[in-house]
Symmetry: D4
Subunit: 151 residues, 8 copies
């Protein structure tokens, strides 16, 4: 059976594409949230009707997005959560906690300057990676037993 991997978190760089391309040829199925920022913010009101109050505007969108997120995490064997350099990214940490409580294998991807504030998240993870290439290397090793050349 293929490894099912959910790619959660930061949506402003191409880290997902790097992982998906790097993992070409491996028996992996990837899933992810909708990464079009505007669509993700507005999906609730675009489909279900306008809200004059920004809070409910956001709320309707977050609920619709949760349909995709919940299935992505529930189906996953591995959840990769990426924290970028900017923004609050509380939804990334929320997904990490959600995945941990379900017993999913968690890989966290973030730069070293976030080590201290992410220590509780990292403590629930099986790997803390710095680059998408390391995530690919983990998947390649876990599936095929092959370590990076030169190691």
């Amino acid at each position: 059976m293929p490894f099912k991997v959910y790619l959660s978190g930061e949506i402003h760089t191409d880290w997902r594409e790097q992982i998906v391309e790097g993992a070409a040829g491996l028996d992996v199925e990837f899933a992810a949230p909708v990464t079009d920022h505007d669509a993700s913010d507005d999906c609730g009101v675009a489909i279900l009707g306008e809200e004059p109050d920004k809070y409910w505007h956001d709320h309707k969108g977050a609920m619709v997005n949760a349909i995709r997120t919940r299935k992505g995490i529930a189906d996953a064997d591995v959840v990769v959560v990426r924290f970028g350099e900017k923004y609050k990214q509380w939804n990334a940490a929320f997904d990490a906690g959600y995945a941990a409580a379900l017993g999913k294998s968690l890989i966290v991807l973030h730069p070293p300057e976030h080590d201290h504030p992410l220590k509780e998240v990292d403590a629930a993870a099986l790997a803390v990676a710095r680059t998408p290439q390391q995530v690919v290397a983990i998947l390649r090793y876990v599936l095929d037993g092959q370590l990076p050349a030169g190691s």
Copy 2:
């Protein structure tokens, strides 16, 4: 993996067909109860033998139908529950509660005049839709990230 969607509730209009047709081309598998009203009412005694008491007549049928309903909900990623304008529809609300307790993503479909009596059901849902087309639009967005044209 395809989204599995169970379409529960009202059986007197063609809302299921509208959703299934609207979702053509999406990676969705639909399931639903038997929607032939007479067959659904009589299946128990038709197969397992007559009952002189109407209560047990109904009971045997409800139990046989539960075989299909339970699997439909248990297998589903998303449960859509439609409340029409007439009838008690307690089985629809029962299915909604059952799905909520299993952690399924719940979409409720009903006209605004039911908002107040359905508030507890809606509170467990990730979306409250007014039309089958909105349900289709949710599925299209959740699967493919595409919002309705013009939005």
Copy 3:
């Protein structure tokens, strides 16, 4: 350990009081939703702030009430759901479905004229009672093994 019984559903008659008084002396702990209709409808906005839109007014209240309902059902060994003669009572059916999915022992209490529309709910129940006194008699028998005098 005491039997924990959650009394869900209709809030316009004194059926809960009849059961609680009838069960005096049994090792039972009862729980129930808030049965003050106005408080139940308005709790969300009274505590968390007004909403101009009636839908969100109701929504905030239903969410706050769910904190109590969820614990009541989750802690219960037995869930009694009462359907009265009036109103939609979809929240009662929702609670019944929720309780059934959690594997709780379900007792449904309703007049015979509701038998047909409640057949799916009754099919998930271990007892269908017509009077609060019958619910008390079930609890007395289940806890102490005593049947009603004269039976």
Copy 4:
């Protein structure tokens, strides 16, 4: 049975004390993480031995703290997560996701300026409060059915 409430998140103000004092007289049991910031950061190495690498220093502490956090959340009926005005607070969002995945009733407490970045967390909550007093009012209503005076 008492309501068990876990108070997660921000540790730099006295919001926990305000809730605990406000809820005096209610049948509630509170739990919380260790809120001594230095002790929380250093508990791992203080007990289990120094680490020259700050990453593992943090890691050992986060793991020891997780013993308390996991039990607090697992035992809770309600998890209150407070986001303050400063810091990353990813552990708060992690706890919220963890609690949500376990089906706990979630109350989120944060100022309105965090509404947008917290929309996914709020979408999993049964209440979004702005002040500790609102959390107390929710607990009072949920336990005793009493709304704030004047409402």
Copy 5:
């Protein structure tokens, strides 16, 4: 997704063949225990070595057979348990209890003279059938919505 049906119980008549043949054309996958009586009794010692004590002879066989039974029931949507006219058949009742505790849809198949001693088993079932043809009719209705001709 196909219905997965496990056929438990009596192994001395051809009821399984009747069901499998009758269900030809339906989207059903059947599983069953090993029905070769001698092989079933002796598999433990035949593979893992003789036991002088008949108790352990039986024990080793029952354990090996449990590997197949557990998977059959765990994978099933529906468990059919057949009680024949002879023998103790405690393993059939054990399977029924096991399936019930896992929330499987249970169909019990037995002659009317067993009604009284099987009342607790029947009370956990969604259907009590008298003939293999009735089981086929249930499956046909549940999958395709078709009732027996003439009904």
Copy 6:
């Protein structure tokens, strides 16, 4: 915390009393079904109304008894199932299967002549005892670490 022990099965001898008396002084809480045979058979109709059909008479009783049985097994750490020398006792085997599926520690109590037909039940048990005194000895050892004098 006390060991909670549910005593299931045969109701025609005083084996339960022997175990309860023998375990005096141990930190054990016992539960059991209603053992008054007539009350157990008739509880459904005595409380909920007569049924002309013996099948539904039995059914209503079995359902009411299930309220007690389910809680007894669900709360138990250890389920003891006694098979006597007579009767079908399918409800005992059903309880054993139900308990096994829930992961309860199972002790089966039966005479050697039932070894072969009970081999699947015994294979799910942690102990097969021949006398109530052996069950007491197991409880005494498991709780206090004391073996029978002379052993």
Copy 7:
């Protein structure tokens, strides 16, 4: 609610007593296996009858001991597993795996020379301690927030 701690593993030194005494005054409940080596080995045959074959002698004992172990681990918040300097101690590693799969907080206690062969066990733990005093210090910190003097 008290912390419930199960002390698994090595039975030839007084490490359990050191922990229990060191934790005096904390709100902790301890449980442990029977630590009388002979009683533990012989309990099966002493209670349930002799076995000529040593394999079944051991088997009956291991099954009876499992009644205590399973409850101890199932009830625990924290499982401490001690590996001593001698013997295979596979039952200790088995308990660690069992506890990990149930999501218990795991503390492993072993000398540094076992670090390499225990790396998979340690990887599932929240703390790796070298002395019983460190386990006490963890419990004291986790319950009362107090670190060892001088740290």
Copy 8:
């Protein structure tokens, strides 16, 4: 559906190959850990960066390997755990405990001289085999009902 079998434990002989080859033609899917000893020991640091401390070197590797192990066991219907003649093999016993807690069917494979120290592990197993050929024979019987020729 195919039987999914995870082959855990000893990595210094070709027992896995013997089982896989012996089971050719059966509807079985095998999974296993990475059995290249050096890769398995060094995968953590090879991918995620060097650690000067051997403990953390091992830890990072064990965590990465756990991604594969967890999925292998979680997906499995049957877990075979092999204990060889040498080494501590605590990870094998850990996997056995982990699999047992998840309710997997467990087959243990070890020479008779390990019977006593493995008695707790064997007590959780459905079969104790001495040779890879016996494991193959179990799989053949469980899937196809065929016993070894001559038995």
